[in-house]
Symmetry: C2
């Protein structure tokens, strides 16, 4: 079987991952031969983007079960290890839940495999739906600011927030994108700038602390971001810095939109307060590291805080596009997400 | 004559500057033998910090006039070139104005020299006054966030906003400082973290986009920043990112204080709209560069916006400490700064 996307491939049943830590200067595909290899790759952010992590995790589990002819018990142990790879993004947990549930049939190895492949195809389709629905929110001439990377590198489809932008561009809307570089790991400066330039969409790269100043000059009409987890009350977790952008939008009366597939919703999470926030190593803030090189400008003794994500409360969110649907803040506060699970 | 400070020295009449681009890993003093050398050093940010630039400019002019036995006309030409070195910080213009005014006496070379030395000593004294006055605004147990570098490296005294913090620490107030790394040039991560650690003051380094998240967790009770120019209506220009911090303070009801010497006030500037904002080279945003190394993660073709400063309107400012005085937003709006010049 073959599956193909910008950053994940299955060729002759061999799973491989584009090492995103090496982008934009080097395109290196990593063959992934086991669940534990995939866990290491996820932790090192070589594969990243909440939806893509979910698909990658499901395929790695299905592949290992098949190759090693796992018993159900062994499969469940591997699934548990996978679940711990990153704590914040819920797509990972959702994908693991789905292949685990599929494992409850008699021919469980085929069932798990088919489920993982179905997750891949669904993600492609959901991206298309999200992009089209969210693009309706973008007007001709809009300046659109985005944070982190939410495009073809974050999913196996065309992305979430960045799909809104690329769909609007396909619809011939003349837009300009402001790209937050997204410290500390520079997903904006390395990945989003690269994706936009590949698509020929005009953009301006800024450091994160310039977002407010750009807004104050009237250059930004809409903000679109992705999400790693959507709580039932409409609070969302996303890449650190998203919360600050949302506050800046509130002050400048700029609509703040979140775009994510339904696999990002966590029905067990009542609000943002319950979302665990992953803290990462201090050296990420003391410097930068990637295929472009490695430098550290702050002393190795400097005290650092490095949350990978933050939580944006529903009060700061104009609306969320989930798959093909749009939920306004009013809808969210009225319990629209809860109703999806009833 | 000898003058000594953390980043500027006069030893046996020889002016030298600590190369701040090399900090914190290398301490290299640059001997400055001419006005044009000093202009190059200022443009390259080897000397930085609005008050320090003013003192450095005055001493370089006085030194060159004396060494080269300039005519008044030659001196005035050199002063004009110096004035163009950086457009946003007004201390530079104020210092050049003062030595130019002093040049109108008969023994003009001595007069200019004495004036430059007086500016040095005044800056030391003003830092002390500012620090003490501003420290009164800090309470026992406060979390204090600051942006950019405003300490002993930004002045010839103990600094402006950072003097508030070091004075409060001297007064045995138990405080914790959150340091914005301050992209693109990392004055927070390289310089402020280093100064705080030298003084033994507890701090946490964060990337700029974490400021809002840290505030939302109740960790920040006050924000102190310096300034490169204060307009007559109370608007201020400061390092890019200051405006975003001020908006975040407004949303979180956190007092936002500005600290600057009276030499930072521009009586000819009615409001922030009239402050010219220096734009710097795009490679600063595409990567980082310093004694720690040089890396570029964004493509050399990427479009970049790189304002060095932004303007924070008086509406977002709780108060400004000028020398030993405190002006609340109400004072500022009632024209308190205008009255200083009447």
């Amino acid at each position: 079987m073959n599956l193909d996307s910008l950053a994940l491939r299955l060729q002759n049943d061999q799973l491989s991952i584009l090492d995103q830590q090496l982008l934009p200067f080097e395109k290196k595909w990593l063959t992934v031969k086991s669940v534990d290899e995939m866990i290491t790759i996820i932790k090192a952010l070589k594969v990243r983007g909440a939806p893509l992590i979910g698909v990658a995790a499901a395929l790695a589990l299905a592949d290992e079960a098949r190759q090693k002819k796992y018993s159900i018990g062994q499969f469940q142990q591997a699934a548990e290890r996978m679940r711990q790879a990153r704590p914040t993004a819920v797509n990972l947990m959702n994908a693991v839940d789905r292949v685990t549930a599929a494992a409850k049939t008699s021919d469980y190895i085929s069932a798990v495999w088919n489920e993982a492949v179905a997750i891949f195809h669904e993600d492609v389709e959901l991206c298309e739906k999200m992009g089209r629905r969210a693009a309706e929110l973008i007007n001709e001439g809009d300046g659109v600011l985005t944070h982190c990377n939410t495009g073809g590198l974050a999913t196996v489809g065309r992305g979430t927030a960045l799909a809104a932008i690329s769909c609007a561009w396909e619809q011939k809307k003349s837009i300009h994108v402001y790209v937050d570089e997204t410290r500390p790991l520079l997903q904006g400066g390395r990945l989003t700038a690269w994706e936009l330039s590949e698509m020929g969409i005009p953009y301006t790269l800024i450091s994160d602390n310039m977002a407010g100043w750009v807004m104050s000059q009237g250059k930004v009409q809409k903000v679109f971001v992705g999400t790693d987890r959507i709580a039932m009350n409409g609070d969302i977790a996303n890449k650190v810095g998203t919360y600050s952008v949302a506050v800046l939008c509130k002050y400048h009366n700029i609509p703040f939109y979140v775009v994510g597939p339904s696999t990002t919703i966590d029905p067990h999470c009542p609000s943002g307060r319950e979302i665990p926030i992953e803290e990462r190593a201090p050296h990420e803030v003391r410097g930068v590291e990637g295929s472009f090189g490695k430098v550290q400008w702050a002393s190795p003794e400097s005290q650092v805080y490095n949350p990978a994500f933050d939580v944006t409360p529903v009060d700061l969110i104009t609306g969320i596009v989930v798959d093909g649907d749009y939920f306004s803040q009013t809808d969210l506060k009225a319990g629209a997400l809860r109703r999806l699970f009833n």
